[in-house]
Protein backbone atom coordinates (compact mmCIF):
# COMPACT_ATOMS: atom_id res chain seq x y z
CA UNK A 1 0.00 0.00 0.00
CA UNK A 2 2.92 2.34 0.69
CA UNK A 3 4.09 2.05 -2.94
CA UNK A 4 0.65 3.06 -4.21
CA UNK A 5 0.48 5.96 -1.74
CA UNK A 6 3.89 7.24 -2.91
CA UNK A 7 2.82 7.03 -6.56
CA UNK A 8 -0.47 8.85 -5.87
CA UNK A 9 1.16 11.59 -3.80
CA UNK A 10 4.03 12.18 -6.24
CA UNK A 11 1.67 12.15 -9.25
CA UNK A 12 -0.65 14.64 -7.55
CA UNK A 13 2.18 16.95 -6.49
CA UNK A 14 3.67 16.83 -10.00
CA UNK A 15 0.42 18.09 -11.52
CA UNK A 16 -0.02 20.84 -8.90
CA UNK A 17 3.59 22.01 -9.29
CA UNK A 18 3.35 22.03 -13.09
CA UNK A 19 0.06 23.96 -12.91
CA UNK A 20 1.60 26.43 -10.51
CA UNK A 21 4.60 27.04 -12.77
CA UNK A 22 3.07 27.03 -16.21
CA UNK A 23 -0.65 27.42 -15.63
CA UNK A 24 -1.34 24.28 -17.67
CA UNK A 25 -3.00 21.35 -15.98
CA UNK A 26 -0.91 18.50 -17.31
CA UNK A 27 1.20 15.81 -15.76
CA UNK A 28 4.93 16.31 -16.33
CA UNK A 29 5.31 12.58 -15.63
CA UNK A 30 3.33 11.56 -18.72
CA UNK A 31 6.34 11.17 -21.04
CA UNK A 32 8.11 8.99 -18.45
CA UNK A 33 5.20 6.63 -17.86
CA UNK A 34 3.84 4.76 -20.83
CA UNK A 35 2.95 1.32 -22.11
CA UNK A 36 3.48 0.00 -25.64
CA UNK A 37 0.93 1.40 -28.05
CA UNK A 38 -1.25 -0.50 -30.47
CA UNK A 39 0.15 -1.77 -33.76
CA UNK A 40 -1.03 -3.49 -36.90
CA UNK A 41 1.93 -4.68 -39.00
CA UNK A 42 4.95 -4.48 -36.75
CA UNK A 43 5.36 -4.34 -32.95
CA UNK A 44 7.82 -1.46 -33.42
CA UNK A 45 4.82 0.74 -34.29
CA UNK A 46 3.82 0.44 -30.65
CA UNK A 47 7.17 1.73 -29.37
CA UNK A 48 8.18 4.48 -31.77
CA UNK A 49 6.26 7.68 -32.40
CA UNK A 50 6.38 9.39 -35.79
CA UNK A 51 6.98 12.75 -34.14
CA UNK A 52 9.59 13.64 -31.53
CA UNK A 53 11.47 10.69 -30.00
CA UNK A 54 10.58 12.05 -26.56
CA UNK A 55 6.93 11.31 -27.36
CA UNK A 56 7.74 7.70 -28.22
CA UNK A 57 6.21 5.09 -25.92
CA UNK A 58 9.65 3.45 -25.54
CA UNK A 59 10.72 6.35 -23.30
CA UNK A 60 7.69 5.80 -21.09
CA UNK A 61 8.18 2.03 -21.03
CA UNK A 62 11.75 2.48 -19.79
CA UNK A 63 10.51 5.09 -17.32
CA UNK A 64 7.82 2.72 -16.01
CA UNK A 65 10.45 -0.03 -15.66
CA UNK A 66 12.70 2.21 -13.59
CA UNK A 67 9.88 3.61 -11.42
CA UNK A 68 8.25 0.26 -10.67
CA UNK A 69 11.60 -1.49 -10.33
CA UNK A 70 12.89 1.06 -7.82
CA UNK A 71 9.70 1.16 -5.75
CA UNK A 72 9.37 -2.64 -5.71
CA UNK A 73 13.01 -2.99 -4.71
CA UNK A 74 12.43 -0.76 -1.69
CA UNK A 75 9.17 -2.51 -0.80
CA UNK A 76 10.79 -5.96 -1.02
CA UNK A 77 13.78 -4.92 1.06
CA UNK A 78 16.35 -5.30 -1.70
CA UNK A 79 19.73 -4.84 -0.07
CA UNK A 80 18.52 -6.39 3.18
CA UNK A 81 16.31 -9.39 2.40
CA UNK A 82 17.21 -9.84 -1.27
CA UNK A 83 20.46 -8.90 -2.98
CA UNK A 84 20.41 -6.27 -5.72
CA UNK A 85 22.37 -8.66 -7.92
CA UNK A 86 19.59 -11.23 -7.75
CA UNK A 87 16.70 -8.77 -7.95
CA UNK A 88 17.71 -6.73 -11.03
CA UNK A 89 17.84 -9.54 -13.63
CA UNK A 90 14.73 -11.17 -12.14
CA UNK A 91 12.66 -7.99 -12.25
CA UNK A 92 14.00 -7.13 -15.71
CA UNK A 93 12.74 -10.41 -17.14
CA UNK A 94 9.36 -10.27 -15.39
CA UNK A 95 8.88 -6.69 -16.62
CA UNK A 96 9.95 -7.74 -20.13
CA UNK A 97 7.30 -10.48 -20.07
CA UNK A 98 4.68 -7.95 -18.94
CA UNK A 99 5.72 -5.63 -21.77
CA UNK A 100 5.53 -8.54 -24.21
CA UNK A 101 2.00 -9.25 -22.98
CA UNK A 102 1.10 -5.63 -23.75
CA UNK A 103 2.64 -5.99 -27.21
CA UNK A 104 0.60 -9.15 -27.87
CA UNK A 105 -2.59 -7.46 -26.67
CA UNK A 106 -1.75 -4.34 -28.68
CA UNK A 107 -2.01 -5.97 -32.11
CA UNK A 108 -5.03 -4.21 -33.63
CA UNK A 109 -7.04 -7.31 -34.48
CA UNK A 110 -6.39 -8.95 -31.09
CA UNK A 111 -7.29 -5.70 -29.37
CA UNK A 112 -10.52 -5.30 -31.29
CA UNK A 113 -11.82 -8.56 -29.82
CA UNK A 114 -11.17 -7.55 -26.21
CA UNK A 115 -8.38 -10.10 -25.75
CA UNK A 116 -6.85 -8.11 -22.91
CA UNK A 117 -3.28 -8.07 -21.65
CA UNK A 118 -4.30 -10.13 -18.60
CA UNK A 119 -4.87 -13.16 -20.83
CA UNK A 120 -1.46 -12.91 -22.52
CA UNK A 121 0.41 -12.12 -19.30
CA UNK A 122 -1.12 -15.22 -17.70
CA UNK A 123 -0.42 -17.23 -20.84
CA UNK A 124 3.24 -16.26 -21.07
CA UNK A 125 3.79 -17.17 -17.43
CA UNK A 126 1.95 -20.48 -17.83
CA UNK A 127 3.95 -21.38 -20.95
CA UNK A 128 7.24 -20.87 -19.11
CA UNK A 129 6.18 -22.61 -15.89
CA UNK A 130 4.66 -25.60 -17.70
CA UNK A 131 7.41 -26.21 -20.25
CA UNK A 132 10.94 -25.29 -19.18
CA UNK A 133 9.82 -24.45 -15.62
CA UNK A 134 10.16 -21.13 -13.81
CA UNK A 135 13.89 -20.60 -13.17
CA UNK A 136 14.89 -20.25 -9.52
CA UNK A 137 16.75 -16.99 -10.22
CA UNK A 138 13.43 -15.43 -11.27
CA UNK A 139 11.83 -15.98 -7.84
CA UNK A 140 13.07 -12.72 -6.21
CA UNK A 141 10.73 -10.80 -8.49
CA UNK A 142 7.66 -13.05 -8.38
CA UNK A 143 5.43 -11.16 -5.94
CA UNK A 144 1.84 -11.44 -7.12
CA UNK A 145 0.23 -10.10 -3.97
CA UNK A 146 2.39 -6.97 -3.81
CA UNK A 147 1.70 -6.10 -7.45
CA UNK A 148 -2.04 -6.80 -7.24
CA UNK A 149 -2.62 -4.82 -4.05
CA UNK A 150 -0.60 -1.86 -5.32
CA UNK A 151 -2.55 -1.90 -8.57
CA UNK A 152 -5.85 -2.06 -6.69
CA UNK A 153 -5.09 0.96 -4.51
CA UNK A 154 -4.11 2.91 -7.66
CA UNK A 155 -7.40 1.77 -9.23
CA UNK A 156 -9.21 3.31 -6.28
CA UNK A 157 -8.09 6.76 -7.47
CA UNK A 158 -10.00 6.17 -10.73
CA UNK A 159 -13.28 5.41 -8.94
CA UNK A 160 -14.85 8.88 -8.86
CA UNK A 161 -18.12 8.80 -6.96
CA UNK A 162 -19.44 12.01 -8.55
CA UNK A 163 -19.92 10.11 -11.81
CA UNK A 164 -22.42 7.76 -10.22
CA UNK A 165 -25.33 9.88 -11.43
CA UNK A 166 -24.05 10.26 -15.01
CA UNK A 167 -27.23 8.61 -16.24
CA UNK A 168 -29.37 9.62 -13.30
CA UNK A 169 -31.54 7.15 -11.41
CA UNK A 170 -32.06 4.80 -14.39
CA UNK A 171 -28.31 4.19 -14.59
CA UNK A 172 -28.05 3.63 -10.85
CA UNK A 173 -30.91 1.13 -10.87
CA UNK A 174 -29.50 -0.88 -13.77
CA UNK A 175 -25.90 -0.84 -12.54
CA UNK A 176 -26.18 -0.70 -8.75
CA UNK A 177 -29.44 -2.49 -7.92
CA UNK A 178 -29.30 -5.46 -10.27
CA UNK A 179 -25.58 -6.11 -9.80
CA UNK A 180 -25.56 -6.89 -6.04
CA UNK A 181 -28.71 -9.01 -6.45
CA UNK A 182 -26.99 -11.08 -9.15
CA UNK A 183 -23.72 -11.28 -7.20
CA UNK A 184 -25.35 -12.53 -4.02
CA UNK A 185 -27.81 -14.85 -5.81
CA UNK A 186 -25.04 -16.43 -7.87
CA UNK A 187 -22.89 -16.95 -4.78
CA UNK A 188 -25.75 -18.52 -2.82
CA UNK A 189 -26.63 -20.71 -5.84
CA UNK A 190 -23.03 -21.84 -6.05
CA UNK A 191 -22.95 -22.78 -2.38
CA UNK A 192 -26.43 -24.23 -1.83
CA UNK A 193 -27.25 -25.81 -5.20
CA UNK A 194 -23.98 -26.54 -7.00
CA UNK A 195 -22.12 -27.02 -3.71
CA UNK A 196 -18.88 -25.63 -5.11
CA UNK A 197 -16.13 -26.79 -2.74
CA UNK A 198 -14.27 -23.48 -2.90
CA UNK A 199 -16.17 -20.47 -1.55
CA UNK A 200 -13.52 -18.10 -2.79
CA UNK A 201 -13.73 -19.43 -6.37
CA UNK A 202 -17.50 -19.06 -6.13
CA UNK A 203 -17.16 -15.46 -4.99
CA UNK A 204 -14.59 -14.48 -7.63
CA UNK A 205 -16.70 -15.91 -10.47
CA UNK A 206 -19.83 -14.23 -9.08
CA UNK A 207 -18.11 -10.84 -8.82
CA UNK A 208 -16.36 -11.16 -12.18
CA UNK A 209 -19.59 -11.96 -14.00
CA UNK A 210 -21.94 -9.57 -12.20
CA UNK A 211 -19.80 -6.44 -11.67
CA UNK A 212 -17.33 -5.64 -14.41
CA UNK A 213 -15.07 -8.45 -15.46
CA UNK A 214 -11.32 -8.64 -14.86
CA UNK A 215 -10.94 -5.62 -12.57
CA UNK A 216 -13.80 -6.83 -10.35
CA UNK A 217 -12.34 -10.35 -10.30
CA UNK A 218 -8.97 -9.01 -9.16
CA UNK A 219 -10.57 -6.95 -6.38
CA UNK A 220 -12.83 -9.80 -5.25
CA UNK A 221 -9.98 -12.33 -5.30
CA UNK A 222 -7.84 -10.10 -3.13
CA UNK A 223 -10.75 -9.35 -0.76
CA UNK A 224 -11.59 -13.02 -0.20
CA UNK A 225 -8.00 -14.28 -0.39
CA UNK A 226 -8.73 -16.53 -3.36
CA UNK A 227 -6.04 -18.77 -4.79
CA UNK A 228 -4.19 -17.59 -7.87
CA UNK A 229 -5.56 -20.52 -9.91
CA UNK A 230 -9.10 -19.47 -9.00
CA UNK A 231 -8.50 -15.93 -10.28
CA UNK A 232 -6.95 -17.32 -13.49
CA UNK A 233 -9.94 -19.56 -14.10
CA UNK A 234 -12.49 -16.82 -13.47
CA UNK A 235 -10.71 -14.43 -15.82
CA UNK A 236 -10.30 -17.05 -18.54
CA UNK A 237 -14.03 -17.83 -18.47
CA UNK A 238 -15.02 -14.18 -18.35
CA UNK A 239 -12.87 -13.14 -21.32
CA UNK A 240 -14.10 -16.08 -23.39
CA UNK A 241 -17.77 -15.28 -22.84
CA UNK A 242 -17.19 -11.55 -23.20
CA UNK A 243 -16.05 -11.99 -26.80
CA UNK A 244 -19.12 -14.12 -27.48
CA UNK A 245 -21.56 -11.69 -25.89
CA UNK A 246 -19.92 -8.72 -27.63
CA UNK A 247 -20.93 -10.29 -30.95
CA UNK A 248 -24.18 -12.05 -30.05
CA UNK A 249 -26.04 -9.46 -27.95
CA UNK A 250 -26.06 -6.67 -30.55
CA UNK A 251 -27.26 -9.18 -33.15
CA UNK A 252 -30.09 -10.27 -30.84
CA UNK A 253 -31.09 -6.66 -30.17
CA UNK A 254 -31.21 -5.81 -33.87
CA UNK A 255 -32.97 -9.04 -34.84
CA UNK A 256 -35.68 -8.66 -32.18
CA UNK A 257 -36.18 -4.96 -32.84
CA UNK A 258 -35.56 -4.12 -29.18
CA UNK A 259 -35.47 -0.40 -28.38
CA UNK A 260 -31.82 0.64 -28.86
CA UNK A 261 -31.69 2.57 -25.56
CA UNK A 262 -32.96 -0.40 -23.59
CA UNK A 263 -30.67 -2.68 -25.58
CA UNK A 264 -27.65 -0.48 -24.90
CA UNK A 265 -28.39 -0.35 -21.16
CA UNK A 266 -28.85 -4.13 -21.20
CA UNK A 267 -25.44 -4.64 -22.81
CA UNK A 268 -23.78 -2.14 -20.49
CA UNK A 269 -25.01 -4.05 -17.47
CA UNK A 270 -24.22 -7.55 -18.70
CA UNK A 271 -21.15 -7.64 -20.95
CA UNK A 272 -18.25 -8.01 -18.52
CA UNK A 273 -15.59 -5.77 -20.02
CA UNK A 274 -15.70 -2.01 -20.58
CA UNK A 275 -14.03 -2.14 -23.98
CA UNK A 276 -16.31 -4.90 -25.22
CA UNK A 277 -19.34 -2.92 -24.01
CA UNK A 278 -18.20 0.06 -26.07
CA UNK A 279 -17.76 -2.08 -29.20
CA UNK A 280 -21.17 -3.67 -28.75
CA UNK A 281 -22.85 -0.36 -27.89
CA UNK A 282 -21.42 1.31 -30.99
CA UNK A 283 -23.25 -1.17 -33.23
CA UNK A 284 -26.47 0.51 -32.06
CA UNK A 285 -25.21 3.96 -33.00
CA UNK A 286 -23.70 6.87 -31.07
CA UNK A 287 -26.53 6.95 -28.52
CA UNK A 288 -26.12 3.22 -27.97
CA UNK A 289 -22.41 3.66 -27.35
CA UNK A 290 -23.10 6.51 -24.93
CA UNK A 291 -25.71 4.65 -22.88
CA UNK A 292 -23.86 1.31 -22.82
CA UNK A 293 -20.49 2.85 -21.87
CA UNK A 294 -22.05 5.04 -19.19
CA UNK A 295 -23.91 2.13 -17.58
CA UNK A 296 -20.65 0.17 -17.53
CA UNK A 297 -18.82 3.16 -16.01
CA UNK A 298 -21.41 3.30 -13.21
CA UNK A 299 -20.85 -0.43 -12.65
CA UNK A 300 -17.07 0.15 -12.56
CA UNK A 301 -17.65 2.52 -9.64
CA UNK A 302 -19.26 -0.38 -7.74
CA UNK A 303 -15.92 -2.21 -7.50
CA UNK A 304 -14.92 -0.49 -4.26
CA UNK A 305 -18.22 -1.16 -2.55
CA UNK A 306 -18.28 -4.78 -3.66
CA UNK A 307 -14.66 -5.39 -2.59
CA UNK A 308 -15.41 -3.83 0.80
CA UNK A 309 -18.59 -5.87 1.21
CA UNK A 310 -16.85 -9.09 0.22
CA UNK A 311 -13.97 -8.41 2.62
CA UNK A 312 -16.34 -7.71 5.54
CA UNK A 313 -18.41 -10.82 4.78
CA UNK A 314 -15.31 -12.97 4.50
CA UNK A 315 -13.69 -11.84 7.69
CA UNK A 316 -16.85 -11.83 9.83
CA UNK A 317 -18.59 -14.89 8.42
CA UNK A 318 -16.53 -17.21 6.22
CA UNK A 319 -13.36 -17.15 8.29
CA UNK A 320 -15.44 -17.31 11.47
CA UNK A 321 -16.99 -20.55 10.22
CA UNK A 322 -13.50 -21.96 10.03
CA UNK A 323 -12.88 -20.97 13.66
CA UNK A 324 -15.33 -23.46 15.16
CA UNK A 325 -18.15 -20.91 15.11
CA UNK A 326 -16.50 -18.79 17.80
CA UNK A 327 -17.34 -15.12 17.62
CA UNK A 328 -14.45 -13.17 16.19
CA UNK A 329 -13.62 -10.03 18.16
CA UNK A 330 -13.39 -6.57 16.64
CA UNK A 331 -9.62 -6.50 16.99
CA UNK A 332 -9.33 -9.86 15.22
CA UNK A 333 -11.66 -8.67 12.44
CA UNK A 334 -9.43 -5.61 11.99
CA UNK A 335 -6.31 -7.78 11.99
CA UNK A 336 -7.69 -10.06 9.29
CA UNK A 337 -9.32 -7.34 7.23
CA UNK A 338 -7.45 -6.89 3.91
CA UNK A 339 -5.91 -3.46 4.39
CA UNK A 340 -5.64 -2.76 0.68
CA UNK A 341 -9.45 -2.34 0.66
CA UNK A 342 -9.01 0.55 3.09
CA UNK A 343 -6.37 1.99 0.77
CA UNK A 344 -8.66 1.55 -2.23
CA UNK A 345 -11.57 3.28 -0.51
CA UNK A 346 -9.37 6.11 0.80
CA UNK A 347 -7.89 6.70 -2.65
CA UNK A 348 -11.39 6.79 -4.11
CA UNK A 349 -12.69 9.19 -1.46
CA UNK A 350 -9.63 11.48 -1.75
CA UNK A 351 -9.77 11.72 -5.51
CA UNK A 352 -13.57 12.06 -5.51
CA UNK A 353 -13.20 15.03 -3.13
CA UNK A 354 -10.45 16.59 -5.29
CA UNK A 355 -12.65 16.06 -8.35
CA UNK A 356 -15.70 17.66 -6.76
CA UNK A 357 -14.23 20.44 -4.63
CA UNK A 358 -11.38 21.96 -6.67
CA UNK A 359 -12.26 24.61 -9.24
CA UNK A 360 -10.52 22.59 -11.96
CA UNK A 361 -11.14 19.29 -10.21
CA UNK A 362 -12.00 17.22 -13.31
CA UNK A 363 -8.96 18.53 -15.19
CA UNK A 364 -6.63 17.94 -12.23
CA UNK A 365 -7.81 14.38 -11.53
CA UNK A 366 -7.79 13.59 -15.24
CA UNK A 367 -4.19 14.82 -15.55
CA UNK A 368 -3.11 12.75 -12.53
CA UNK A 369 -4.88 9.59 -13.66
CA UNK A 370 -4.10 9.78 -17.37
CA UNK A 371 -0.64 11.20 -16.79
CA UNK A 372 0.73 8.36 -14.70
CA UNK A 373 -1.40 6.44 -12.23
CA UNK A 374 -3.58 4.64 -14.78
CA UNK A 375 -0.59 3.35 -16.74
CA UNK A 376 1.30 2.26 -13.62
CA UNK A 377 -1.86 0.55 -12.35
CA UNK A 378 -2.06 -1.39 -15.62
CA UNK A 379 1.57 -2.41 -15.37
CA UNK A 380 1.15 -3.63 -11.78
CA UNK A 381 -1.79 -5.81 -12.82
CA UNK A 382 0.14 -7.08 -15.85
CA UNK A 383 3.14 -7.96 -13.66
CA UNK A 384 0.79 -9.71 -11.24
CA UNK A 385 -0.67 -11.89 -14.00
CA UNK A 386 2.78 -12.79 -15.30
CA UNK A 387 3.70 -13.85 -11.75
CA UNK A 388 0.49 -15.87 -11.38
CA UNK A 389 1.32 -17.70 -14.61
CA UNK A 390 4.91 -18.33 -13.50
CA UNK A 391 3.68 -19.87 -10.24
CA UNK A 392 0.85 -21.97 -11.67
CA UNK A 393 1.04 -25.51 -12.84
CA UNK A 394 -1.68 -26.74 -15.21
CA UNK A 395 -2.19 -29.63 -12.80
CA UNK A 396 -3.30 -27.05 -10.18
CA UNK A 397 -5.87 -25.58 -12.56
CA UNK A 398 -7.52 -28.87 -13.53
CA UNK A 399 -9.10 -29.72 -10.14
CA UNK A 400 -10.85 -26.34 -10.22
CA UNK A 401 -12.72 -27.45 -13.33
CA UNK A 402 -13.92 -30.72 -11.80
CA UNK A 403 -17.53 -31.52 -12.66
CA UNK A 404 -17.80 -28.40 -14.78
CA UNK A 405 -19.32 -26.61 -11.77
CA UNK A 406 -17.48 -23.29 -12.28
CA UNK A 407 -18.75 -23.16 -15.86
CA UNK A 408 -22.30 -24.04 -14.80
CA UNK A 409 -22.10 -21.35 -12.13
CA UNK A 410 -20.97 -18.76 -14.67
CA UNK A 411 -23.66 -19.73 -17.18
CA UNK A 412 -26.47 -19.73 -14.62
CA UNK A 413 -25.31 -16.49 -13.07
CA UNK A 414 -24.92 -14.76 -16.39
CA UNK A 415 -28.38 -15.98 -17.46
CA UNK A 416 -29.89 -14.46 -14.32
CA UNK A 417 -27.88 -11.29 -15.00
CA UNK A 418 -29.22 -11.08 -18.55
CA UNK A 419 -32.84 -11.55 -17.47
CA UNK A 420 -32.80 -9.17 -14.49
CA UNK A 421 -30.79 -6.47 -16.30
CA UNK A 422 -33.13 -6.57 -19.29
CA UNK A 423 -36.15 -6.27 -17.00
CA UNK A 424 -34.62 -3.35 -15.11
CA UNK A 425 -33.45 -1.64 -18.33
CA UNK A 426 -36.96 -1.96 -19.74
CA UNK A 427 -38.55 -0.60 -16.54
CA UNK A 428 -36.15 2.30 -16.18
CA UNK A 429 -35.47 3.37 -19.77
CA UNK A 430 -38.69 2.16 -21.34
CA UNK A 431 -41.33 2.95 -18.74
CA UNK A 432 -40.47 5.01 -15.66
CA UNK A 433 -37.89 7.41 -17.18
CA UNK A 434 -38.81 6.93 -20.80
CA UNK A 435 -38.36 10.52 -21.92
CA UNK A 436 -35.59 11.44 -19.52
CA UNK A 437 -32.39 9.99 -20.84
CA UNK A 438 -31.77 12.27 -23.80
CA UNK A 439 -28.43 14.15 -23.32
Amino acid sequence: MAMAAIILVVSTLAVFIAADQSGDIVSPLKIFVSKPGSWTSSPFEGFISKGSWMDSPIVGVIGSFLIIGALSAVALGVGKKISLRSYVPAFTLVFALATLAYVMAGQSLVKSYNLEYALWALGLGLIISNTIGTPTWLRPSVHTELFIKTGLVLLGAEVLMSRLLALGLPGVFVAWVVTPIVLISTYVFGQRVLKLPSRSLNMVISADMSVCGVSAAIAAAAACKAKKEELSLAIGMSLSFTVLMMIVLPAVIVATGLNPTIGAAWMGGTIDSTGAVAVAGATLGDDGLEIAATVKMIQNILIGVSAFGIAVYWVTSVERDGDNQNRVGVFEIWRRFPKFVIGFVMASITFSILHAVLANGPEVTSAIIKGSTKTLRGYFFCLAFVCIGLETNFRDLLPQLRGGKPLILYLCGQSLNLILTLLMAYLMFGVVFKDWIAP
Binding site: T40, S41, S42, P43, M104, A105, Q107, S108, L109, V110, K111, S112, Y113, N114, L115, E116, Y117, A118, I127, I128, T131, I132, G133, L155, E158, S162, R163, L165, A166, L167, C212, G213, V214, S215, S273, T274, G275, A276, A278, V279, A282, D286, L289, E290, A293, T294, K296, M297, N300, H355, A356, G361, P362, S366, I369, K370, K374, G378, F381, P439
Partner: protein, 69 residues
Protein backbone atom coordinates in the same frame (compact mmCIF):
# COMPACT_ATOMS: atom_id res chain seq x y z
CA UNK B 1 16.50 -30.56 -14.71
CA UNK B 2 14.82 -29.66 -18.00
CA UNK B 3 14.21 -32.41 -20.48
CA UNK B 4 14.67 -32.03 -24.23
CA UNK B 5 10.93 -32.50 -24.58
CA UNK B 6 10.22 -29.52 -22.32
CA UNK B 7 12.65 -27.30 -24.18
CA UNK B 8 11.22 -28.43 -27.53
CA UNK B 9 7.67 -27.66 -26.34
CA UNK B 10 8.76 -24.18 -25.23
CA UNK B 11 10.46 -23.46 -28.54
CA UNK B 12 7.57 -24.77 -30.65
CA UNK B 13 5.07 -22.62 -28.75
CA UNK B 14 7.40 -19.64 -28.97
CA UNK B 15 7.88 -19.95 -32.73
CA UNK B 16 4.15 -20.49 -33.24
CA UNK B 17 3.37 -17.30 -31.34
CA UNK B 18 5.99 -15.33 -33.29
CA UNK B 19 4.55 -16.62 -36.59
CA UNK B 20 0.97 -15.81 -35.61
CA UNK B 21 1.68 -12.34 -34.31
CA UNK B 22 4.18 -11.24 -36.96
CA UNK B 23 2.65 -12.89 -40.03
CA UNK B 24 -0.90 -14.16 -39.64
CA UNK B 25 -2.50 -11.37 -37.62
CA UNK B 26 -1.00 -8.48 -39.67
CA UNK B 27 -2.12 -10.20 -42.87
CA UNK B 28 -5.68 -10.62 -41.60
CA UNK B 29 -5.69 -7.06 -40.23
CA UNK B 30 -4.98 -5.67 -43.70
CA UNK B 31 -8.04 -7.32 -45.25
CA UNK B 32 -10.34 -4.45 -46.39
CA UNK B 33 -13.32 -5.41 -44.22
CA UNK B 34 -11.17 -5.93 -41.17
CA UNK B 35 -9.26 -2.68 -41.77
CA UNK B 36 -12.55 -0.83 -42.13
CA UNK B 37 -13.77 -2.19 -38.80
CA UNK B 38 -10.54 -1.29 -37.03
CA UNK B 39 -10.61 2.23 -38.47
CA UNK B 40 -14.23 2.64 -37.43
CA UNK B 41 -13.40 1.68 -33.84
CA UNK B 42 -10.45 4.09 -33.85
CA UNK B 43 -12.52 6.94 -35.26
CA UNK B 44 -15.11 6.51 -32.49
CA UNK B 45 -12.42 6.45 -29.78
CA UNK B 46 -13.23 2.88 -28.80
CA UNK B 47 -10.46 0.83 -27.22
CA UNK B 48 -11.97 -2.64 -27.24
CA UNK B 49 -9.39 -3.86 -24.76
CA UNK B 50 -10.24 -1.24 -22.13
CA UNK B 51 -10.55 -2.82 -18.70
CA UNK B 52 -11.88 0.27 -16.92
CA UNK B 53 -13.77 3.37 -18.07
CA UNK B 54 -10.68 5.57 -17.65
CA UNK B 55 -9.04 3.57 -20.47
CA UNK B 56 -11.85 4.32 -22.94
CA UNK B 57 -10.81 7.33 -25.09
CA UNK B 58 -14.42 8.18 -26.03
CA UNK B 59 -15.55 8.39 -22.39
CA UNK B 60 -14.43 12.01 -21.95
CA UNK B 61 -16.54 13.12 -24.87
CA UNK B 62 -19.51 11.09 -23.63
CA UNK B 63 -19.28 12.64 -20.16
CA UNK B 64 -18.96 16.12 -21.64
CA UNK B 65 -22.06 15.55 -23.77
CA UNK B 66 -23.96 14.40 -20.73
CA UNK B 67 -22.82 17.45 -18.76
CA UNK B 68 -21.06 15.29 -16.19
CA UNK B 69 -17.95 16.73 -14.47
Amino acid sequence: MRTNRQVAAFMIIGFAMIFIWLRVLPRISHQPRVMERLQRLDAKGIDASAMFYTELPCMDEILERRGVR
